[in-house]
C-alpha cells in the first residue's frame, strides 16, 4: 500500500505515472479524495515550492511536478461533488492587455494550484473589462496580474482602477515590476517570483 509520503515523493520527482497509480490505489483502499489532494498532492507541491524558492530546483522541475500533481487531481477530482471541493480560495490570473507573454503567469498559476487554490486563468492580452467580468463571474478573493514588458505594465494601473469597486485583492508581478511600482499603482501585493506569489496569496487571504 502506498502512503501519502510516497505520493508526495512522486509529485516532487515529477513522476506522473506513479502519482496516478498511488491515487487510484489510495481510492481503492477507501482514502477520501480530499485527503489524497491535501496530504499527498498538495503536500508534495509544497515541498517543490520551498525548493524552488531556495534555488534547489528550477522551472523544469516545477513543471513536471505540476504535471504529476494534475495527473493525480484528474483521478480524484471527478469523485468530489461541487460542495466537497475545499479549495483554499479562488484566484483569477491573467497577463494584462497588450502583452502576449505567459510563461511567468503560467508558473504562478501552477504554484497557486499546487498550494490548493482554485485558479481561473484568463490567458494573455486581458483588458481591464475582462478582468472585471471574470471577477463578477467567479467571485475570487484575489486577482493576479502579469506583465513582461515595460510598455504593458502600465495596464496594471488601468486594471486596478477598473477593479477598485470589487471586494477583491490585486497582486502584481512580472520581470519589470517592482515593489515601488506595485505601491504606485495601488496593488495590494507584489510577488517577485512564483513561489513568493503563493506566500503573498496566503497573506492576502489572511488579511
Amino acid at each position: 500500500m502506498s502512503t501519502f509520503q510516497e505520493m508526495a515523493e512522486a509529485v516532487i520527482s515529477g513522476n506522473a505515472k506513479k502519482v496516478k497509480e498511488y491515487a487510484k490505489q489510495a481510492l481503492a483502499e477507501g482514502v477520501s479524495p480530499q485527503a489524497i489532494i491535501n496530504d499527498g498532492l498538495i503536500a508534495g507541491m509544497n515541498v517543490v515550492g520551498v525548493r524552488f524558492k531556495n534555488n534547489e530546483v528550477y522551472v523544469p522541475e516545477v513543471l513536471i511536478s505540476a504535471r504529476a500533481m494534475h495527473a493525480g487531481m484528474d483521478v480524484v477530482k471527478p469523485l468530489l461533488s461541487e460542495a466537497e471541493v475545499q479549495d483554499k480560495g479562488t484566484i483569477v490570473v491573467g497577463t494584462v492587455k497588450g502583452d502576449l507573454h505567459d510563461i511567468g503567469k503560467n508558473l504562478v498559476r501552477m504554484m497557486l494550484e499546487g498550494a490548493g487554490y482554485k485558479v481561473i486563468d484568463l490567458g494573455v492580452d486581458i483588458a481591464p473589462d475582462k478582468f472585471a467580468q471574470a471577477v463578477e463571474e467567479h467571485r475570487p478573493q484575489i486577482v493576479g496580474l502579469s506583465a513582461l514588458l515595460t510598455t504593458t505594465m502600465v495596464q496594471m494601473k488601468n486594471t486596478i482602477e477598473r477593479l477598485k469597486d470589487y471586494p477583491v485583492k490585486v497582486m502584481v508581478g512580472g520581470a519589470p515590476v517592482t515593489q515601488k511600482f506595485a505601491d504606485e499603482v495601488g496593488a495590494d501585493a507584489y510577488a517577485s517570483d512564483a513561489a513568493t506569489a503563493v506566500e503573498k496569496a496566503e497573506q492576502l487571504m489572511a488579511s
Binding site: N55, E61, L100, N106
Partner: protein, 331 residues
C-alpha cells in the same frame, strides 16, 4: 579616432580616456529617430564603436505575422516587442517531421561583405541570435522544452546538436571574412536566476556553447554572448570557455560593482544602461548621471562598452536617448 582599436584595447583591459559605445535600437525607435534627425543614415553618424549584422531574415506574411528562417511564425501585433511564437513546429519530442534549414549562404555573404567594406574603422560583430536554447524553445515551445530536459533528454540533445551544426555552418561562411567577433544571442536568465538552472545549463548547453566558442577562438575571433536576465551562476563557466564579451549586463539585476571586481579582469561588459528601469522612466539628467556613473565604475582598467541593456524599446522618450548620446559622444 580609431574606434576599432578603442574596442580592442578595452577587450584587452587597457584603459583609454574614451570608452567605446553602441546605440542599439528597436525598429520603431529607429524610425522615430530617423524622423527626429530627418536623416535615414543618422545611425552611421552617431559614432557607434560597433558594427553589427544579424544572421536572420523574416518573410512578411501580413496581418503582423512574420516567418523566420526555421519556419516559425511570429506574432508581432505588439508594437515594440520582439513578438511571440504563433506555431510551435515540434509538437512531439521528435525531429521526424521537421526538416532543418540550411544556412542562407547568400544572406550571410551579403551581410558580411557589408560589415567588412562599409565599417572599416569599427569593431565588427556577426550576430547569431537564438543561438541555442532560444532556437530550441521557439521550435518546441518553452514549457515542453523545459520538461523535455528531464523527460526526453535524448531528444533535447539531438535538437541542440542540430542547432549547433547549423550555427557552425553559418560560422564557416562568416569567418571567411575579416570580421572581429561572433556574437551569440540566447536568453537564459530570469529577473532572478536562470530559467533552467545552472545544472541543466551545464549538462545541455555548456558543452555545445564550448564547441561554438572554440571554433571562433581557433580562428582568432572574439566571442560575445548575450543573455538577458540573471546568469551570474555561470559566469565562471563562460570565462572558462574563453568568453570575451558579456551583453546585456542589467544593473537592476547585477551588483555591477561586485561583478566588475569579480569578473572584470576576465571579461568585457557590454550594456549596463537599463532599458527596464532607467531609460523609460528617468529624466534626461538622471540618464546622463547614471551613464557617467557606470562609465567611471565599469570603464576602470578597460573592459567596458557602454550601451543600453537591450535594443531600446518604444517606451523610451527621445530626450533620454539624446541624453545618453550626449554623454557618450562627448567624452
Amino acid at each position: 579616432m580609431d574606434r576599432h582599436q578603442l574596442v580592442i584595447d578595452t577587450l584587452n583591459k587597457k584603459e583609454r580616456d574614451v570608452i567605446p559605445f553602441h546605440l542599439d535600437l528597436s525598429n520603431s525607435v529607429r524610425q522615430r529617430l530617423i524622423d527626429y534627425f530627418g536623416d535615414p543614415q543618422f545611425e552611421d553618424k552617431v559614432g557607434n564603436s560597433l558594427a553589427q549584422e544579424r544572421n536572420e531574415s523574416f518573410v512578411d506574411l501580413g496581418n503582423y505575422r512574420e516567418r523566420d528562417m526555421f519556419g516559425v511564425v511570429w506574432n508581432k501585433e505588439q508594437e515594440g516587442d520582439f513578438g511571440v511564437v504563433d506555431n510551435y513546429l515540434l509538437t512531439e519530442p521528435s525531429l521526424n517531421n521537421y526538416t532543418f534549414p540550411k544556412p542562407d549562404e547568400a544572406l550571410i555573404r551579403q551581410k558580411c561583405e557589408r560589415l567588412v567594406h562599409s565599417h572599416k574603422d569599427q569593431f565588427t560583430m556577426y550576430i547569431i541570435g537564438f543561438s541555442l536554447f532560444e532556437r530550441a524553445w521557439t521550435l518546441r515551445g518553452m514549457t515542453d522544452l523545459l520538461m523535455d530536459f528531464l523527460l526526453n533528454p535524448a531528444f533535447v540533445e539531438e535538437l541542440l546538436d542540430r542547432i549547433v551544426e547549423y550555427n557552425l555552418a553559418v560560422m564557416d561562411i562568416a569567418m571567411q571574412y575579416d570580421i572581429d567577433c561572433i556574437f551569440f544571442g540566447d536568453d537564459w536568465g530570469q529577473q532572478k536566476g536562470m530559467i533552467m538552472g545552472p545544472g541543466l545549463w551545464r549538462q545541455f548547453l555548456k558543452p555545445r556553447l564550448a564547441k561554438m566558442f572554440a571554433k571562433a577562438k581557433a580562428k582568432g575571433l572574439y566571442v560575445a554572448q548575450h543573455s538577458c536576465g540573471d546568469v551570474h551562476e555561470v559566469f565562471p563557466d563562460l570565462i572558462e570557455m574563453g568568453l570575451d564579451i558579456y551583453n546585456t549586463f542589467q544593473p537592476e539585476i547585477y551588483d555591477v560593482e561586485q561583478m566588475k571586481r569579480e569578473f572584470g579582469r576576465d571579461i568585457t561588459f557590454y550594456g549596463g544602461i537599463s532599458t527596464q528601469q532607467l531609460l523609460p522612466k528617468a529624466s534626461p539628467e538622471e540618464v546622463k548621471a547614471e551613464t557617467r556613473r557606470l562609465m567611471t565604475l565599469l570603464g576602470k582598467g578597460g573592459g567596458y562598452i557602454v550601451a543600453p541593456t537591450h535594443a531600446i524599446p518604444n517606451d523610451v522618450p527621445t530626450e533620454n536617448i539624446l541624453a545618453f548620446l550626449e554623454v557618450v559622444q562627448h567624452q
